[in-house]
Amino acid sequence: MRFMVMVKATTDSEAGAQPTQELLDAMMAYNEELVKAGIMKGGDGLQPSSKGARVQFDGAKRSVVDGPFAETKELVAGFWLWECKSLDEAIAWVKRCPNPMPGPSEIEIRPLYELADFGEIVTPETAATWDRLKTEIGDKS
């Protein structure tokens, strides 16, 4: 199963505070473990939402809203993509993570949809397109 593992933002991360060298080293060691375990499929940090934007969709309308965004605790500050056997395994790995922020913080784990999950509604053509795209962007399908 593939998971998206999200580090939630805090007032510190939204303020663009730099992590301490100590945390950086701990994170690097943790990432190394993930790579050696073969579960790491990608991961990055996001710049604060003040540098972000949102596009709102309503019928045919598209409006652009510039950041920063208010609901700090719900924003994403960083993420990984993992391949694990189960949600339990993903949870176990997250528990080993160094606290990613100076104060209290939160990491969210969400399983990704695989094409099989869409079942009935997928026409063969759409399935073929998705399959091909998955191959092309280097994802397992």
């Binding site: 190394e32 790579v35 092309e136």
Partner: protein
């Protein structure tokens, strides 16, 4: 949205659409310079109209329509001029020019204008430098100034180069088509070489340090991915994409905190980009499926890069497989450089003495005269064998040959270390 925001948004749409637009216009006018002018005219028309009416639902089609109208107007003007000339009894070379049916031409089954444009920009009538410049200009949408900076030449020189390239294509009356059969293989090789040269220009940073250069890596990868979509059955296209993705996956790990280069085997693999590695391995699989028993040079190099990417630690590197892959590469694409790389792999697989035999066999190779990596590898193997005095001399020589200041510092340091070891012997 302010006027300047609107302009920026329109220019962004234009940059996204420009390669396809220019491709279609080249098919129409058979003239790249003309096609670029018409595309610019279409942009001017969009800047005048879109801020009032909003961006059309299909901006690409709108721009094409606008450019086409201008092409037709220009042709009509030419015809009028021609008639005037005739009335005045002038000779005219354009007698044979019938008014082509542009509408019909445009509504024809277009096939793939973009792919045709890639092939024409990389045409063998052009020098390699001209191909690079033209590809970045037409397909990457880089400005002349950006291309000049990327290649460290003055802007007027680059502008000249682009003008000459377009003229050369016009003079040669290069047909605007995707080649077939035997010619396809040769022409494709030229396209892949251009893309990989652009990548390496950004990757190697052989001189200077500039923000434009990393962008070249990204641009080359984008071009490679586009090409893989347009020519999905060509194994070498996927091989090149795999090679670039895998090499780029290490970009973040190549420099230490003070900007000093870090050897591949010393790099922190946690800093390798797993997303790019996943993509690279996938592209390699595709290439291998398509190539079957006949792997090409890009595929083999990607397979080599994959050996490193798959090793979770430096100790896990499969040097025997790497040495074997270099042997295959040397068979289809013999070169002293490949031989040097094979020597490195053999020394890792079987020990420095085995590698040294291969390196010393290359000592008189004229192609490697002045190539700093030969004495540098030589020095490395000598040092491993405890022959520190000779190693120091080799590192000194390598330091005097490199074009890169940081590499020079590293080599000088190794020379000093070897001298120290020789003195304490």
């Amino acid at each position: 949205m302010s006027a300047s925001d609107a302009h920026r948004a329109i220019e962004t749409v234009f940059r996204i659409e420009a390669p396809k637009l220019i491709g279609g216009l080249v098919r129409l006018t058979r003239d790249i310079g003309r096609a670029e002018e018409l595309a610019q005219d279409a942009l001017v028309a969009a800047l005048a109209q879109w801020p009032q009416d909003g961006v059309p639902r299909n901006p690409g089609a709108w721009l094409m329509q606008a450019a086409k109208h201008r092409a037709i107007d220009a042709l009509r003007r030419d015809k009028l001029l021609q008639r005037k000339h005739e009335e005045l009894g002038h000779d005219s070379e354009t007698d044979a020019l019938a008014m082509p049916d542009l509408d019909a031409a445009l509504d024809d089954e277009v096939g793939d204008d973009l792919l045709r444009l890639i092939f024409i920009a990389c045409h063998p009538v052009l020098s390699t430098e001209a191909r690079l410049a033209l590809t970045l200009r037409l397909l990457g949408g880089l400005t002349t100034e950006e291309i000049a900076r990327a290649f460290l030449v003055p802007e007027p020189t680059m502008a000249q180069r682009l003008v000459r390239a377009k003229k050369a294509l016009a003079d040669a009356r290069v047909p605007f088509e995707v080649p077939h059969g035997v010619e396809l293989a040769q022409r494709l090789a030229s396209v892949l070489e251009v893309v990989y040269l652009i990548f390496n220009e950004g990757y190697a940073a052989t001189a200077g340090h500039d923000w434009v250069r990393p962008a070249l890596c990204e641009e080359a990868m984008r071009l490679g991915r586009i090409l893989a979509e347009r020519a999905p059955l060509e194994p070498e296209v996927h091989g090149l994409v795999a090679l670039m993705e895998l090499q780029a996956s290490r970009l973040r790990a190549r420099l230490g905190p003070d900007g000093e280069p870090i050897l591949l085997l010393d790099q922190n693999r946690a800093r390798w980009d797993q997303l790019l590695i996943g993509r690279g391995l996938k592209a390699l699989e595709r290439a291998q499926r398509l190539a079957g028993a006949a792997p090409g040079p890009y595929l083999l190099q990607a397979a080599l890069a994959a050996c490193h990417a798959r090793a979770r630690t430096a100790e896990e590197t499969d040097w025997r497989r790497i040495a074997a892959l270099y042997a295959v590469l040397a068979a289809i694409n013999p070169s002293p450089i490949v031989e040097l790389n094979r020597a490195v792999a053999v020394s890792m697989a079987e020990g420095p003495a085995a590698g040294l035999v291969l390196v010393e066999a290359l000592a008189d190779e004229p192609a490697l005269r002045g190539y700093h990596l030969l004495p540098s590898v030589h020095g490395d193997l000598l040092a491993k064998l405890g022959r520190h005095g000779e190693a120091a001399a080799a590192f000194d020589r390598a330091a005097s040959l490199t074009r890169n200041a940081k590499e020079r510092a590293l080599l000088e340091e190794r020379a000093a270390t070897a001298r120290g070891a020789a003195a304490t012997g």
